[in-house]
């Protein structure tokens, strides 16, 4: 009775990549890293190499034709993962250009065999494999020669217990390239350009024997190398929200009368949409929400997607950020993906062990997304809300609402259904003044006030006043005074008064 072979999964050292690979890279696998020039193939290979190579189980990086090795070293050392001291110890570069230039695949293979035999590497990289393909075309029958070469290389590397990567530019995915058939893994890197924004995407087209996450995943190349943003649901499998919602007192909003209107504060783990026209006081309410958290010893994260952060951010929020009570996630470049935003938020939430999150505003958030993701904004937003609910934080989102007095709307994105609670703010005209009113429209599974209350904003924040009981037609924007005979009984009978 023999037990099954155990496939070890190697941690690639690329943040997020192991998640979309389905748990890491299978040991001794034969992989292809493909994509067009400039999409990050060599960087990905180097990052994996420096993460995994050790002096005992080193890596050999064969450079064939293509990027001259000196150039490659010049640029790759700019990344933080590049460890100069590892060179010629854990990491060995071997140049095969002389053999490849002669178009002699047998000679190329022999050189690879010699080096692998001499050093017993755990990892082997061949960059760029396309040049091997081109070299083989000098012979009469390129496909046959190449197939033989790849077969032999694959067999050799597996028997030498080396995890292997062929790095190459393959312009056509549908090409019946023999390399695609032989390889165990196929990692495809892409660049998606729309208008003047560019988004990098990675796809695991094939990885034998494990459940990869299908589809295109965004990644970014920074000074620390590549960072992949797996979909939020994978990043946060958690039942924290259930625990949070079931237990504990409600969260206070920082505006006492509003807590009363909500039925005693906002239930923990809920998402709240604050909708209103420009200048109605949404951000002021958000600031009060954050300040109240800080007062209770809680930490928060604010995602600010405004064009002029310094101008629009209130003094209160700026102080909370400076004091470390509130983490800030911001980005003004229009090249974000929803997964990246969720990733940045989650990182801050974990770092600060935050319980409150503010997204100010959804309109700015939409603009921060790369154009390529905007058609899916509603879906993206649903993912975001789900992901945040998954970690049990309480979320306040502001949404700019065009003031239309002919219909009652809460969100321009049809997002109202996704949130657990909604507060709406409106302007009304009374006695030739613009005055503000606020109402709690919805608190899921909870009693709440149905009053439309006037409020004002002063140096201390939001002050909620009384209902304008003497008026009617408030939501039409131009209320009229009711006949005196109707006034007294209404105010007296209201249980929430």
């Amino acid at each position: 009775m023999t037990s099954k072979a155990i496939i070890n999964r190697l941690a690639t050292g690329v943040p997020g990549l192991d998640d979309i690979l389905g748990g890491g890279l299978p040991e001794f696998s034969f992989n292809l890293i493909a994509g067009q020039p400039g999409c990050g193939k060599t960087t990905l290979a180097h990052q994996i190499m420096f993460a995994l190579a050790t002096p005992e189980r080193p890596a050999i990086y064969f450079t064939v034709l293509g990027e001259p090795p000196l150039k490659m070293l010049r640029y790759q050392q700019q990344f933080e993962f590049f460890d100069t001291e590892a060179i010629n110890q854990a990491v060995r570069f071997v140049n095969l250009s002389d053999a490849a230039m002669a178009g002699d695949l047998d000679q190329v293979l022999k050189r690879i065999v010699d080096e692998v035999t001499a050093h017993g590497p755990a990892l082997v990289f061949v960059d760029s494999f396309r040049s091997v393909v081109l070299a083989s075309e000098k012979d009469g029958n390129p496909h046959n020669r190449l197939q033989q070469f790849v077969q032999q290389l694959g067999m050799l590397m597996t028997s030498w217990e080396a995890t292997t990567f062929l790095i190459g530019e393959y312009f056509s995915e549908t090409d019946a390239n023999p390399v695609f058939t032989v390889s165990d893994g196929l990692i495809w890197l892409r660049q998606s350009v729309q208008r003047n924004s560019m988004v990098r995407k990675i796809e695991i087209m094939k990885m034998r024997g494990q459940p990869t996450l299908p589809g295109l995943h965004t990644f970014r190349i920074g000074t620390s190398g590549i960072e992949v943003f797996p979909p939020a649901s994978v990043a946060n499998p958690s039942d924290a929200s259930v625990r949070a919602a079931a237990s504990a007192p409600r969260l206070l909003m920082g505006v006492a009368q509003l807590d009363d209107m909500l039925g005693g504060g906002l239930p923990r783990g809920y998402s709240l949409l604050v909708a209103g026209p420009s200048g109605s006081g949404k951000s002021v309410l958000a600031a009060a929400f954050l300040a109240e958290g800080a007062r209770n010893g809680e930490t928060s994260v604010i995602a600010a997607f405004e064009q002029h952060p310094n101008r629009s951010r209130s003094r209160i929020v700026a102080e909370l950020i400076a004091g470390g009570k509130v983490g800030l996630v911001e980005n003004r470049a229009a090249d974000l993906s929803i997964d990246e935003i969720v990733y940045m938020l989650m990182r801050e939430i974990r770092r600060l062990r935050a319980t409150r999150v503010v997204i100010d505003s959804l309109s700015g958030f939409e603009l921060a997304l790369a154009p390529t993701f905007r058609p899916d904004f509603r879906e993206s937003l649903a993912n975001l809300v789900t992901a945040l609910a998954g970690v049990g934080v309480t979320v306040l989102m502001t949404s700019e609402l065009e003031d239309r007095y002919t219909d009652l709307r809460f969100s321009p994105y049809g997002t109202a259904f996704m949130t657990d609670a909604i507060i709406v703010q409106r302007y009304i005209e009374v006695d030739s003044r613009l005055r503000r009113v606020m109402a709690v429209v919805k608190v899921r599974a909870s009693a709440h006030s149905d009053q439309l209350r006037e409020f004002s904003i002063d140096a201390d924040g939001i002050q909620i006043g009384q209902m304008l009981a003497e008026h009617e037609g408030l939501l039409g924007g131009r209320p009229t005074r009711k006949p005196l005979t109707q006034l007294a009984p209404l105010a007296a009978n209201d249980p929430n008064g």
Partner: protein, 142 residues
Amino acid sequence: MQSQERGTIAAFLESAVSVGASSEEVAALIANTFTGVDQALVPIVGQRGMAALYKRSLHLSRPMHPWLPAAAQGSESGMDLAALTAALAARTSAEAASAGTQLLESLRVLLTTLIGESLTERLLRPVWATFLSGPSARDTTS
């Protein structure tokens, strides 16, 4: 650019001269060091890459030592050390040491410009350790 390596190279070759090494012996020391550089770099940059670096170093050193061999045109087979040794051996040992220092330093600075100080040091460390730390030429032959 004054560097620790330049100091080491110069001091080593000058010490060989001071103990009376002939220009042939100095030339052999320099050629050996270049062989070490070749062994360190060719696996990484390839024969052609090494040849290009060597030619550029010669080009940079010839204004100060015009008698150094001109880089052979179209040669892709690496360094022509025979030509270098012959040229060095034809001068006084002090001249040979000075030109050799210049040539090795040019190559080191060139590499530093391209791939940075620490990686250059990492790649050439074994060369300096092997060829520049041993006893001088006179000591080995006596």
